[in-house]
């Protein structure tokens, strides 16, 4: 059993129309994989009365219609679906082109100085890692990713910026992320991808990333960024 995972899932009422199923109390890939597998099983069964489920780092939030089901009935349906042990990772693998520094990543130099590195070392470390999407939240399509190398862990800005651009490749504390719409944020901007993380015109595929997905980055220059952005289409590649 992994650190941070509970021996038994906790079914917690969240008002008259929702419950939270906690599988652990920490940010941990094993716990999160179990949450995502639990979510997959719940969705596959299409349990009557469940309106939607929201997988988070360590719990599954379940919105239900109390006119169609109840707390005890749902717990009875859900309990057998909680994965007992570790489950294999199932996410898609993505490669996102990123233009680092300059106007694309205005905090690259700050992060380098704060961590005692050169900007190129920061970029090399960021490129060398593989990131895992733990959950989507904060803003539509904003992916909270783990896997940031410890050498790049940098506390968030004391004063958040009021607006950072969409598709910014950013880091905050121990986490990495890609923004999907312009948002206020205290995260540090290392670069930007020409891939549109969120586009309503894509319909059910409006959001590129889903929890469990694995993400790597590849470096591009400003000219390539401009060419890719102008070309449109699917810029992020799914690999492997």
């Amino acid at each position: 059993m992994t650190a941070g995972a509970y021996d038994e899932p906790r079914f917690l009422p969240a008002g008259d129309a929702a419950l939270t199923v906690e599988l652990g109390d920490s940010v941990d890939p094993v716990v999160n994989r179990r949450v995502l597998e639990f979510d997959r099983r719940v969705r596959e069964l299409d349990i009557p009365g469940i309106v939607e489920s929201v997988p988070t780092y360590r719990s599954l939030f379940v919105q239900y219609d109390p006119g169609r089901t109840g707390f005890a009935a749902l717990v009875d349906r859900l309990r057998p679906l909680v994965p007992a042990g570790d489950v294999p990772a199932t996410g898609r693998r993505w490669v996102f082109p990123v233009c680092y520094g300059g106007e694309f990543g205005v905090d690259l130099d700050f992060v380098a100085e704060a961590r005692g590195l050169s900007p190129d070392q920061v970029i090399a470390l960021h490129l060398a890692a593989e990131y895992r999407v733990y959950m989507i939240g904060f803003a539509p399509g904003f992916a909270y990713m783990g896997g940031l190398p410890p050498a790049l862990h940098t506390p968030r800005r004391a004063s958040p910026r009021l607006r950072i651009p969409a598709n910014s490749v950013a880091i905050g504390g121990i986490q990495a992320g890609i923004t999907s719409i312009p948002v206020p944020s205290g995260w540090h901007l290392l670069g930007r991808t020409p891939a549109e993380m969120f586009d309503l015109a894509r319909g059910d595929d409006a959001f590129l990333l889903a929890p469990g997905d694995l993400v790597r980055f590849e470096r591009i220059d400003a000219d390539t960024f401009a060419r890719l952005e102008a070309g449109g289409g699917t810029i992020a590649r799914q690999a492997g």
Binding site: P13, G15, T20, D25, S53, T56, Y57, G137, P140, F207
Partner: protein, 337 residues
């Protein structure tokens, strides 16, 4: 094609339906009307279905006109000072607004928020399954934003129907105390905190909007830390940051958050909170989940039963009643249309 033209949106007016469910896993906010009874009643009064979208306004409803022909409209949510070309019209009833007339909605003594529904509904494409507006993310409603003066909202064709009213006996009674179900993280607090939450009263601070109401009152002390690993947030969730001052999360709540949530206000009582604003005093009482479900099911039945309670509108407010006729100069010429 008909349209509703915004002359003045008031403090904040947005298009809202019952909310955008199914996309919280992608970080998309549910949004939807703050007062679901007001939305349901407004839709029913103009013959729209339960999933119809209305304009939710704040403090005052502002001023509106119609283009393209007469259309039935209704204002609900409180005793708003509704008028057409200066002639008073009752809230909680439908009436006909004609091109050239100006509908004005002033404040209500009993509510901060109300709904304006138009027969047929707005010809606005649903985004991710809903016409609700979430302003912060720019999703849904009219161009993803609050209404502005000069906006022209196209209307869908409406079926013919009479002018209806909701009898006063059908209006929701405001509970003395908002009812809470403990959890999901009541285990992060001791009995003292739960006693403080239900023993005293809280004031709604100026930091109160569609996303949530920050309250001021007895501090709620955490047993452990004031941070948890971010998890899902329900409508009515009472989260407690380090200050110990609770925040109630409402229609525009973010789908996930990292403060412990001591309790959750039951859905049927959310409208009562939506009707009050900064400075209001509120109190809480804890009920069990079984009781919460019984109240919720009765409330669902009441919402579904609203269309059956409507009756033909009579008396003050009917634009062709004696008040209106008396207000016209009958000697000076023919009765204008």
């Amino acid at each position: 094609m008909g349209a509703l033209v915004v002359q003045d949106p008031g403090l904040l007016a947005t298009v809202q339906d019952a909310g955008r469910f199914g996309w919280q896993r992608f970080g998309v906010v549910v949004a939807g009307a703050m007062d679901l009874f007001a939305l349901r009643a407004a839709n029913a009064l103009v013959g729209n279905g339960a999933d119809g979208a209305a304009i939710e306004f704040t403090f005052t409803g502002g001023r509106y006109e119609v283009e393209g022909g007469p259309v039935r409209v209704a204002v609900t949510g409180g005793a708003f000072a509704v008028s057409v070309d200066g002639r008073p019209v009752a809230p909680w009833r439908s009436f006909t607004l004609r091109p050239g007339e100006v509908l004005a909605i002033g404040p209500a003594p009993d509510s901060l928020r109300g709904c304006l529904a138009v027969a047929g509904g707005f010809d606005i494409p649903p985004v991710l399954g809903s016409r609700s507006t979430h302003v912060r993310s720019g999703i849904g409603g009219w161009q993803g934003r609050a209404l502005r003066s000069g906006d022209r909202l196209p209307l869908l064709p409406a079926a013919a129907g009479g002018e209806l009213e909701l009898p006063p006996s059908a209006l929701p009674a405001a509970p003395d105390r908002l009812r809470l179900v403990l959890g999901p993280q009541d285990g992060h607090f001791g009995e003292e905190a739960i006693a403080a939450l239900t023993g005293g009263s809280y004031q709604v601070t100026a930091d109160a909007d569609r996303m949530g109401y920050r309250l001021s009152g007895p501090a709620l002390t955490h047993l452990g830390g004031d941070n948890i690993v971010s998890d899902g947030i329900a409508l009515g969730s009472v989260q407690v940051p380090a200050s110990g001052q609770p925040i109630v999360l409402l229609a525009d709540r973010q789908p996930t958050g990292g403060y412990p949530k001591i309790a959750t206000i039951i859905t049927p009582d959310i409208g009562a909170l939506a009707r009050v604003g900064p400075g209001a005093s509120i109190a809480f009482t804890v009920i069990g989940l079984a009781e919460a479900h019984a109240i919720r099911r009765a409330w669902d039945a009441a919402l579904a039963g609203v269309p059956d309670l409507l009756r033909p509108a009579l008396g003050a407010g009917n634009l062709y009643d004696s008040e209106r006729l008396l207000s016209l100069d009958l000697i000076g010429g023919p009765i204008p249309d």
